[in-house]
Symmetry: C2
């Protein structure tokens, strides 16, 4: 069973969520940063810089910098892979899980208010 969503509802939903994000005081992430964060929290681990760069089709420095900023916000954490110490494994944090959860709640709340 798929989610039934008409174009006008989809656009209205995006507007409402965007408005909530712009107005809110949550740390505003770039579109790329959000994509990285959601991928880390939705796709199965392990996550590496290289893997994320390939999945998003961006360069590795983009991922490194995104992890820098989100790491400063404590939304993710980095650890060296003990098996292959060249790799860095990105792990989830409590704060990050809370952030993602809250974001999902906003989307759900706004979708419940859609007209028609």
């Amino acid at each position: 069973m798929s989610v039934q969503l008409r174009p006008s509802q989809a656009l209205r939903l995006w507007q409402q969520v965007s408005l909530a994000e712009v107005r809110g005081k949550a740390p505003d992430l770039t579109e790329r940063q959000l994509a990285v964060l959601l991928t880390i929290y939705l796709d199965p681990p392990p996550h590496t810089v290289r893997g994320l760069a390939e999945k998003l089709d961006v360069s590795k420095p983009v991922i490194t910098r995104a992890l820098d900023t989100m790491g400063a916000l404590k939304l993710v954490s980095r650890h060296r892979d003990p098996n292959d110490r060249r790799n860095v494994l990105i792990k989830r944090t409590v704060e990050g899980a809370l952030f993602v959860e809250r974001f999902g709640d906003v989307v759900v709340a706004k979708s419940a208010e859609l007209p028609l």
Copy 2:
């Protein structure tokens, strides 16, 4: 009738759309710019700089700059209000309508692919 969307579906939807936007070649707009654009195309006119600034709870220069960049992309156009020449009325364009329409199609397509 409201749209039924569970948190995991909402997050997955946002991830898929974000990934599509990051990977895509469409001009990438800021979260604020997207909020401005959707408001212009979804809410009833007339739209003014001041009105948009109040609705998004941001300063007027933010709106002016967003209109600068989106105007350069021909997604919106500006015209002096003939009744009160202090005001600037923001109007829609064919390119902007097409951009919004395509974005809505992406959301609908991704929502149709959601699991569960």
